[in-house]
């Protein structure tokens, strides 16, 4: 039974994504003066060169980290809507750590590790504010995580464009990080860095934890029904732990932006990676392995829209619309019996729909 329904759900998701891609194809056909060229640029552009393809892989990495963060919280029945802000504080923490350790004699791998750890800690701390508020007063994580993240985004943008801004640059950005302190590039001259394999390994690791271990089973139990979980001896700490890890993953996602392709902290650099991560997690039904193709799909649409705007007369924003359409179609197929929905109803909406 269980497997049957899971297979059906996977099939339904693939059909929905196929429909989304078919709809996506309408745009180049309708908007371009040279429809076939635009269509080719959009869908095949990202695969036209190893440079473009590796760039696609690299841009999927921060997204995958944020998606894994969202998925982990979903599993525990928690809506962490603060991924965007958590990624931003993570990016800032990583940039500051590298800046602070730049003059030291530490070997580059240690500096990178410290930067990633700082990013995780920063994202985690931001997420834990919401857990603390919930424990103390029952304020909905759904709302506080968004509000705190929004405030953090404003503060991070202010810091990067203000006191931390590189004096030598016209960009609203912190100083460039020296090449040796960035994640190693795997296929120069492309942007592909260690970020992509790191993200993939994290997805595999989380799959083993979340879907193949006792802890993962307990987490799911906890997410389905907190009262029942408590009566079976599971502690509230599980929720706090998963929120902390969720924030940490988003924070590391932010660090990948800084230490990977961009090479510095720039104002507004998260650019929706947290929200898109949430969408990817929803499309993947909170499955860490499913998040891999889903984040690649999103990165593909982004890269396609970029290629379409360079090689043809398309808008680079087209991908935003396509991603939203994909999410719409997926959600329409989900139906009932899916746990975040119940959480939203029972926890946030307060009564059944």
């Amino acid at each position: 039974m269980k497997h049957q329904s899971r297979r059906e759900s996977v099939a339904a998701r693939i059909v929905a994504l196929g429909a989304a891609l078919a709809l996506a194809a309408v745009y180049p056909l309708a908007a371009s003066s040279e429809p076939l060229g635009a269509l080719r640029a959009f869908f095949l552009g990202p695969f036209s060169s190893s440079y473009a393809f590796f760039g696609l892989l690299e841009s999927a990495a921060p997204l995958l980290f944020c998606a894994l963060g969202a998925a982990l919280a979903f599993r525990a029945g928690i809506f962490n809507l603060g991924g965007e802000g958590q990624a931003a504080v993570g990016a800032l923490a990583a940039a500051l750590t590298v800046q602070g350790l730049e003059a030291s004699s530490l070997p580059p791998p240690l500096v990178l590790l410290a930067a990633i750890a700082a990013a995780g800690a920063a994202g985690s701390a931001l997420a834990l504010l919401s857990s603390a508020a919930e424990a103390w007063s029952g304020a909905e994580v759904l709302l506080t995580s968004f509000l705190v993240s929004q405030a953090a985004l404003i503060a991070v943008d202010w810091a990067i464009g203000g006191p931390l801004k590189a004096a030598s640059s016209n960009l609203l950005a912190m100083p460039l990080i020296p090449r040796r302190l960035l994640l190693p590039r795997l296929a120069p001259p492309s942007n592909l860095s260690l970020a992509a394999p790191l993200a993939l390994a994290t997805a595999l690791f989380l799959y083993l934890i979340m879907d193949r271990s006792r802890a993962g089973y307990e987490l799911r139990l906890f997410g389905r029904n907190r009262l029942f979980a408590r009566s079976s001896g599971l502690s509230e700490g599980l929720g706090v732990l998963s929120m902390a890890s969720s924030g940490a993953l988003s924070g590391v996602g932010g660090a990948m932006l800084v230490l990977g392709a961009t090479g510095r902290a720039v104002q507004g650099m998260t650019g929706g990676v947290g929200w898109n991560g949430l969408a990817v997690a929803l499309i993947a039904a909170s499955n860490p392995l499913g998040a891999v193709p889903a984040s690649l799909l999103f990165a593909w649409l982004d890269a396609g829209a970029r290629q379409g705007s360079i090689l043809a007369d398309l808008s680079p924003d087209a991908s935003v619309v396509m991603k939203a359409v994909a999410l719409f179609l997926i959600t329409a197929k989900i139906g009932s019996g899916w746990h975040p929905r119940r959480t939203w109803q029972a926890g946030a909406a307060g009564r059944g729909l």
Binding site: G138, W158, L278, L282, A318, V320, V321, A324, A332
Partner: protein, 308 residues
């Protein structure tokens, strides 16, 4: 603080609270119908864009406002239909709508105007009633009677939504639909159409609120909604899901926004950073309110108290 500055501070607070209140009351209708829409943010954004675009094309304020309502309804209808006919998760559909809105706008803006930036639309500006006799009253005069016309339009819309929710048969049935499918059907009521109606009204309200944001500056600016739709959602909770409470919460937010605007006048505080204040203060207010509600054991906190 001089009386003049107090008056302009109050005026600022009221004009910031008005669009929030309208959007939040729209959100309250969906909550009452048992299908809370998180698409307020997206509806506000498309409302603001449609208002600016339509007013630019027609040079008419009324056409701009009508377009904002139409755009807000369209986006919200998408969520309502997905949640109703397609049995989608209303929360996820709302998120999708919020992701869709900025993409759609920059796509349209690029195609129609060749810009993704500010879309100036002077026809949207409404005049302030600074010369009316009532504004001579001390403090209250300029704050309450000296607002832009748009603010009074919002006040009227808020009053209408409030009456609709609490004083009409439609509102009663809407709330019955929110008691759950079984309960509603037992009362001889098919809840689906009422939920869809709630989504339509919420879209109209949020769209109008978006038009007000654009009207205030006479232009559409990317990201002009800046999380206000989410703040309106928080107001639904803070206001204990009652219209009076919701409006009161929005007045509180308006006060906070005015405070962060006023604080930007002092040289010592970095202006950009103060923009974070309303969000932080809202999170703190929500937490404190929940704590107080839990301490009093009020029934409104039952759901979350039982959860944690």
């Amino acid at each position: 603080m001089s009386l003049d500055r107090l008056a302009s501070f109050l005026a600022d607070a009221l004009s910031a609270a008005a669009p929030l209140a309208v959007a939040a009351l729209g959100g309250l209708l969906t909550e009452a119908a048992g299908s809370l829409s998180v698409a307020l943010e997206g509806s506000m954004l498309v409302g603001a864009f449609a208002a600016a675009a339509a007013a630019k094309a027609s040079a008419s304020f009324a056409v701009g406002v009508a377009a904002s309502v139409g755009a807000g309804v369209s986006l919200s209808l998408l969520v309502g239909l997905a949640a109703g006919a397609l049995r989608a998760d209303v929360f996820v559909a709302g998120l999708a709508a919020n992701l869709l809105a900025p993409g759609l706008i920059s796509l349209l803006s690029g195609a129609l105007y060749g810009t993704k930036g500010v879309l100036s639309s002077p026809a949207l500006l409404t005049s302030s009633h600074i010369r009316d006799p009532l504004t001579r009253l001390p403090v209250v005069g300029p704050a309450v009677f000296g607002q832009e016309t748009m603010v009074y339009l919002l006040a009227a819309a808020a009053a209408l939504l409030w009456i609709l929710h609490s004083r009409t048969v439609f509102g009663l049935r809407l709330r019955a639909a929110g008691e759950g499918n079984e309960a509603a059907r037992a009362a001889g009521l098919e809840p689906g159409p009422y939920r869809l109606a709630a989504h339509i009204l919420a879209g109209a309200a949020a769209g109008l609120a978006g038009a007000a944001l654009a009207s205030h500056v006479g232009a559409f600016v990317p990201g002009i909604s800046a999380g206000r739709g989410w703040i309106a959602l928080v107001a639904v909770y803070l206001g204990a899901k009652r219209p009076g409470g919701v409006v009161l919460s929005c007045l509180g937010f308006g006060f906070l926004i005015a405070l962060s605007n006023a604080a930007q006048g002092f040289a010592a505080a970095p202006a950009e950073l103060l923009g974070a204040l309303p969000y932080l203060a809202t999170a703190i207010a929500l937490t404190l309110w929940k704590r107080a509600a839990r301490a009093e054991g009020r029934k409104d906190s039952r759901g979350s108290a039982g959860r944690s």
